[in-house]
Each structure stands twice: as structure tokens, then as C-alpha cells.
Symmetry: C2
Subunit: 81 residues, 2 copies
């Protein structure tokens, strides 16, 4: 069966996020107030062929660790739809 | 009150996603099988100061339309935590 797996990869909370800071500046320039903080990361959607949601999540976990995220700078979260 | 708003910005389904195709190639090279399709987009987390979740979502919606996404190539989804 094919499962849709959503992976969110974000910069670690302890680190600065220059892209997020740039977006904050952009929002202020557009006159959009009320945004206190912005963090920008990646969102990856996988179509995984597996026999159970647990196995689909295991494949996504391995993909995230080996290729999609850098543990020094990023953390990831996986949701199987 | 401060609301955490999650915004997912992904390439439109009708369009090719070269970054996703590159990730698929990378996964195959790593020997990770079972992944049929990959789409890569952005994930943005906003801390929004608003008086209701509806207003926080409205601010995120305006930010997404004006700055964070390009309607020609991308769609976005907003979730207020």
C-alpha cells in the first residue's frame, strides 16, 4: 500500500535562522504587523510503498537521517497521513 | 496572545519538482527502496500576536499570499496550533 508521509525539517531552536529574519523584515516592509518570529525550513512529502504505516514511517525516518536533514543544524518531524 | 502558525508551501501538483526528483535519485543511491514520489517545499513557522486564532490565520494567509508563496508555482496550507 502507498502511504503519504509528511516530513518537516526545521533549523534547531538554539540556532539563528537568517532566512526567517529576512522574512520578518519583508513582512514589516509590507506593513504586516503582529508577527513576532519566523523560522523557515523544508517540507518534504513522500509517497512510500510499505506494508504498514509503521514501516512507512521507518523508511521516512531513515531517509530523513541519511539524506534530508543535517542533525548538526536541523531537526525533523514525521507524520504518516 | 501569541499563536504558533504552521505554513506549508509546496510546488503545484501539475508541475515538475526537480528538487524532489533529485532526492528520489539520492534515496535510490543510498539503497532506500519503497519511495515512489518525492515533493520538496518550504515549511514556515510564524509566532503571531493576535486576539483570536482566526485573526492569526488571517495574518498568516496575507503573509503567504504577499511574500511566502508564488501562486503561479506553489500552493500553501495554514494550520494554527
Amino acid at each position: 500500500m502507498t502511504y503519504t508521509v509528511q516530513i518537516k525539517v526545521m533549523p534547531l531552536k538554539e540556532l539563528l535562522d537568517p532566512q526567517g529574519k529576512a522574512v520578518m523584515g519583508g513582512l514589516a516592509n509590507l506593513g504586516l504587523n503582529g508577527v513576532d518570529d519566523v523560522r523557515v525550513g523544508k517540507h518534504i512529502t513522500l509517497q512510500v510503498n510499505a506494508d504498514s504505516p509503521e514501516n512507512a514511517k521507518a523508511i521516512a525516518d531513515e531517509a530523513s537521517k541519511k539524506l534530508l536533514s543535517n542533525a548538526v543544524m536541523e531537526y525533523f518531524e514525521i507524520v504518516v497521513d
